[in-house]
Subunit: 336 residues, 2 copies
């Protein structure tokens, strides 16, 4: 299904996929450091989406986003050498926090390359976790390229955004969803590098092949949507304000998982910038939870496709809440 | 220690106290409907308070505040007659949600009297839970008086804000704190009707007599602070913007628990309106959690007494997040 990639900085390790058994195996380490997050039903959101709205609160982690589950799982696999020499990664923010958290657990130095103008709430959180933030590159993919080269020149380990250990750790939130709500009909999940959506689809469809998994990107950053439609890796423009889903170049392994005929996603929705701002505003109004724009994408998509959701039990993955204060003010002032 | 009360509308049942065994017994029913909430450490908040800051996230309940634990516990004690005739209560908001939740669990009609100008986020949430909101009285205590009379005239059960079953249910959050952080040094907790502070003190000091429990009220609503100092029930003005701790007339049973020589609180701090707004703003900046002003009171107090907290493990009870959108905008615009 996938054609060969022109993505020259794709590390070999990322070509490997993550299996359901990998996700199950991740639980032990993940729950040594993190608690399960709640899945709450909100009747007033249900009125907006046509079906019953259940929100998976990945914003309730201490570091405010789902990615930390991956870092914790990865931390258990680091060699003594890797812990000493340290880790390199690149991130728009939440992935960087996840790897910083992993470094903190095992005492490994961590350097995170972030694009110029990165969300200060996220870069500051990375630093609070003891990692170093390096501003390199105009966008995430340029930061990624820089971090890979720097790691190689120092003999340090580079952690890509979709390392299989990260996908497996992240997949634990979908195990929690399926335990809390075994008869869920639909899961809607935002796509950045794809670890959340790929694992959500793998895990939920392994447990219940009839569940529908719907991925979401921004109309202004549709690279993975286009790749999924085309069945091959396609790059696209990347102009969304939602940095958590601002992907210009898809990752091969998560894209392949999303495209899997059995455990891949069922549909893919694009939402406008206006819809993202409106959804973040609605989360505050109806639940008093702060969602970053990427985190609000699943609610934005559910509102857009509400005609398809009548009577369904719909899980909205609120993937993270690490928004900048500036953007939070814009959301509160947003005229609906 | 307590002198006789002049509080003519104090129901007899509220003169009873809640014991540690009552709190332990509440767990079973509470966890049938609710999950434990996280206790997260935030290094960047620690810098503000001098000690290590651990936040107890009672805002993470689906209904956004700790009181729901009490309602769930109470729901198990309702007779068939009470379920049929229904329940009356009065509330500034969060207690009303708690009783509405109890009514929903057992299918009992609930009427909640709220003061004129009550927080619309809270009144709307009460209605979402299927209860009726009745605007009666200029403040909470007038609403309370109305609800008691209405209940009596209809032969319905009136649920006071500090019914022992409510205190016992609420006390489960402190059991969780003591399990997560057995070596906590200080717990700081806001005081409204007193069920949170009274149970926090009872539970934590029964488990560890050396822990320090510090209660907080607003300078502009100091009735319980004055009563605690005087050792008898004293009323006071009530002009704070933090409706969750806006108490004019203390409740006898929780006041008596706060004054207990063994399991009562160790200290009582008053904070200004400015300090409450600033603390709510800091919660958003540092944790992306929305706290209502009452919920932010423990952080406000910790900042005020930071000289006493050096090196201590300090639990800040973030009791609720149900703030109005208007006040949330004020907090974000608040000039620090």
């Amino acid at each position: 299904m996938m054609t060969s990639s022109t993505n020259s900085f794709e590390p070999v390790e990322q070509s490997r996929h993550c299996t359901f058994a990998d996700v199950e195996a991740a639980r032990e380490l993940v729950y040594r450091h993190l608690n399960p997050t709640p899945l709450h039903e909100y009747p007033s959101l249900s009125k907006l989406i046509g079906g019953r709205a259940f929100v998976k609160h990945e914003n309730h982690h201490a570091v405010g986003a789902f990615k930390v589950r991956g870092g914790v799982n990865l931390s258990g696999t680091l060699s003594t050498h890797e812990r000493e020499v340290g880790l390199y990664t690149a991130s728009t923010g939440n992935h960087g926090q996840s790897i910083a958290f992993a470094g903190k657990i095992v005492g490994a130095p961590v350097r995170v390359a972030v694009p110029e103008g990165a969300n200060p709430a996220k870069t500051s959180a990375i630093q609070q976790l003891g990692a170093e933030v390096v501003f390199e590159g105009r966008d995430f993919n340029e930061s990624l390229e820089w971090a890979m080269k720097a790691a190689a020149s120092e003999g340090a380990r580079f952690i890509g955004p979709t390392d299989p250990k990260l996908i497996a750790g992240v997949g634990t939130y979908t195990l929690e969803i399926m335990e809390s709500l075994p008869d869920a009909d639909v899961i809607i999940v935002p796509v950045g590098a794809g670890s959340g959506a790929a694992s959500a689809s793998l895990v939920s469809k392994t447990i219940n092949p009839n569940i529908r998994v719907i991925a979401v990107q921004a109309e202004r950053a549709p690279a993975i949507h286009r790749s999924w439609k085309a069945g091959r890796l396609v790059t696209a423009e990347m102009e969304t304000a939602a940095e958590g889903i601002a992907t210009r170049v898809p990752q091969e392994n998560t894209l392949s998982m999303l495209c899997d005929s059995k455990t891949g996603i069922d549909d893919f929705v694009l939402v406008t910038e206006d819809e993202l701002f409106r959804a973040a505003r609605l989360y505050i109004e109806h639940t008093r939870n702060v969602a970053e724009l990427a985190g609000a994408a699943s609610l934005a998509a559910a509102i857009r496709i509400r005609d398809q959701l009548a009577g369904a039990k719909v899980v909205l993955v609120l993937s993270g809440g690490n928004i900048s204060m500036k953007k939070l003010r814009e959301i509160l002032e947003y005229d609906q």
